[in-house]
């Protein structure tokens, strides 16, 4: 794929300068905007890369393929394409939520691209299994899919590309409620299925990159025991329990997350 189309497809934004690059990847339910409070702290000494997965934020909706993105591996292929386009080597990949596993898969596909992996609220499998506690049952995941189906209404396909990055047209921002984190509802459902039905436990032992597991307190999406499971299985990993609560410490406690990443890299 030509590099311009990769950058357009994933709405890639590069800021800052430095010898190393640091990529911030958003998780399920949002887009690159959720990394802004943390990413800006790295622009001074890093090349900072932000992007949206296809179907999210300001990515190219036309590039969505239910087949390509039917597993996390397809999303990891996109990460590798972005990395190749930008010529990334020994870079840092910071993945929130499901992106932590997508980044891990990317290190398997392109071992020299990312030497360090920061996993924020990761989980290799969300559904309980024989002797494993992921935190959810299949029925509960169906409830989530129901919520997504019920919340179609505010979404407008025509408006989605115009929502953000239009400082010269402020009137646009008022025309749609909930203008951040817009996701095509069909794609959101697909991504929810791919995310919450995935099982990447077997991949963890293959990961060679230096890894930091950043675990939140009281995170119902990725409970503490899942974070501890990750740390135990990853061959080359550190583990840090944040004071921040909930699933999005990058938004609720950006300073604490920034400090943790800085001390690791």
């Amino acid at each position: 794929m030509p590099s311009a189309s990769v950058l357009r497809r994933n709405n890639v934004n590069v800021t800052g300068s430095g010898d190393r690059a640091i990529v911030f990847a958003h998780g399920f339910g949002c887009d690159q905007a959720m990394w802004a409070p943390v990413a800006r702290n790295f622009e001074r000494d890093f090349r900072v890369v932000l992007f949206d997965y296809v179907g999210h934020g300001q990515s190219d909706l036309g590039a969505y393929s239910a087949e390509r993105y039917s597993s996390l591996s397809g999303y990891a292929d996109d990460v590798v394409e972005i990395g190749r386009t930008l010529g990334l080597e020994h870079a840092v990949f910071v993945g929130h939520s499901v992106s932590a596993m997508i980044g891990a898969l990317a290190t398997l596909k392109a071992p020299d691209m990312f030497s360090d992996l920061v996993m924020v609220g990761p989980s290799p499998r969300y559904i309980d299994d024989d002797g494993y506690r992921g935190g959810f049952s299949r029925e509960q995941i169906d409830e989530l899919l129901e919520f997504l189906a019920d919340n179609h209404l505010g979404w407008s396909a025509a408006m989605a590309p115009a929502i953000m990055g239009n400082p010269d047209r402020p009137e646009l921002s008022g025309r749609l409620e909930n203008s951040f984190c817009n996701t095509d509802p069909e794609i959101a459902r697909d991504f929810a299925r791919v995310t919450f039905l995935s099982d990447n436990r077997a991949d963890l032992e293959q990961i060679r990159a230096r890894t930091l597991v950043l675990q939140c307190s009281n995170d119902i999406i990725a409970p503490v025991e899942v974070g501890e499971f990750m740390h135990a299985k990853l061959p080359n990993s550190d583990y840090r329990l944040l004071q921040a609560t909930g699933h999005c410490p990058n938004l609720s406690a950006p300073e604490e997350v920034t400090t943790a990443i800085r001390e690791f890299v």
Binding site: N151, N178, F180, C248
Partner: protein
């Protein structure tokens, strides 16, 4: 405090507690710090029992995931979230569908103090919305199935039409062979010419069906235009064929083409043949059909007129649509494709096909420029 102010204060308290909507405030950590009686009653729990509890306690598990992955980040980024469909979980485990608005209360430094939620019960509305979504999904599935079926049907027609051509050609060749080589009596010859007519009609129908199927399948009607050969003999041949098919009709012809016509001669023959067949089928059998073709000053015009009952006003609008059939003797009725395809051929030549119909005559007139045009024009089916 005066009495009236006291009343007002009393009212505000009461408004908060018993308003016809639910009010809830949560700490940044997601603990319930204030909740009104209306909402507590919906949840079938006492307000005191809920204070200090996690917001998660009144949500279904799916709702919790949604709040953590969607609502919480949205609230942090834009400070508010509106019109979210959220299911609450009552004390007895029953789900309460609500529509929620939420906003963060922040201090002057932007520090998050608490989150306010306003909730409206939305049982009927949610049912209605779900049935709308369901109906749309069903309609999409149905529409997709119909599209697929239509494609299969048209492919079937195309294949069938194509495969029917060869046996028709074989029968026509057989008839010619019999005429030439065998000694056949007058009655036998009569049978042969009836057979020839039938083969001619069947071949015309097959060609029209094939054109329709090609057009519908997206190939469009292809014309290859040039002015390498004269048009007059081609038209004369068409008239001769119609005379074989309909010997009881008289056809008066006037052909006066003195400039080259940039056209697909095979297609114009098809157009002429369709118009003549139409006149034979619908015209008064005891009165002549008039065929005129002439070029004048860069314009080529071809018209076919017949006597008989005029075409009713309401039928004229549908005349050029596929599968439109007027009143005719059942045995002579075709598929209703002749005029549709004639019209497509006219358009493919940058021309027009028009009809006029009075008590005196019904006349179809085709007009096109004689001059040079792009080599190949495709009219979308």
């Amino acid at each position: 405090m005066s009495l009236s102010e006291q009343d007002l204060a009393e009212d505000l308290e009461d408004l908060y507690e018993t308003a016809p909507c639910g009010y809830l405030s949560a700490s940044p950590e997601g603990r319930i710090v204030k909740i009104n009686r209306t909402l507590a009653a919906w949840l079938q729990r006492s307000p005191d029992d809920l204070l200090g509890k996690s917001l998660h306690d009144i949500l279904s598990v799916g709702g919790r995931i949604a709040v953590e992955t969607h609502l919480a980040p949205l609230l942090r980024m834009q400070g508010y979230v509106n019109e979210i469909a959220l299911d609450l979980l009552a004390g007895d485990g029953e789900k309460i569908p609500t529509i929620a608005n939420a906003a963060e209360k922040r201090d002057e430094d932007g520090r998050h103090l608490f989150t306010r939620l306003t909730l409206f019960k939305a049982v009927d509305r949610r049912n209605y919305e779900r049935s709308l979504v369901h109906a749309r999904t069903e309609a999409e599935i149905e529409a997709r199935a119909q599209r697929d079926a239509a494609v299969v049907r048209e492919q079937f027609i195309a294949v069938l039409g194509h495969d029917l051509r060869n046996p028709m050609a074989a029968i026509a060749a057989g008839i010619r062979l019999l005429r030439k080589r065998e000694h056949i009596g007058p009655e036998g010859l009569q049978v042969l010419s009836e057979m020839e007519k039938s083969v001619g009609r069947a071949s015309g129908l097959i060609n029209n069906v094939l054109d329709l199927a090609r057009g519908s399948l997206g190939g469009g009607l292809v014309v290859e235009r040039n002015s390498d050969a004269p048009l007059t003999p081609v038209l004369e041949q068409v008239i001769a064929e119609i005379r074989v098919i309909a010997p009881e009709n008289s056809i008066e012809t006037r052909i006066d083409i003195d400039e080259p016509v940039y056209c697909d001669r095979g297609r114009l023959a098809q157009l002429a043949s369709n118009l003549l067949s139409n006149a034979v089928t619908h015209g008064a059998p005891d009165q002549p059909i008039r065929f005129e073709a002439a070029s004048v000053g860069g314009l080529f015009a071809l018209s076919v007129a017949n006597a008989g009952d005029p075409i009713p006003e309401d039928a004229r609008a549908h005349l050029f649509q596929p599968f439109f059939r007027g009143e005719a003797r059942p045995s002579r009725n075709g598929l209703g494709l002749g005029l549709f395809i004639a019209c497509q051929i006219a358009k493919a030549h940058d021309g027009t096909l028009e009809v006029s119909s009075t008590e005196e005559e019904t006349r179809f007139t085709f007009k096109m420029p004689t001059g040079n045009q792009p080599v190949e024009t495709i009219v979308e089916g």
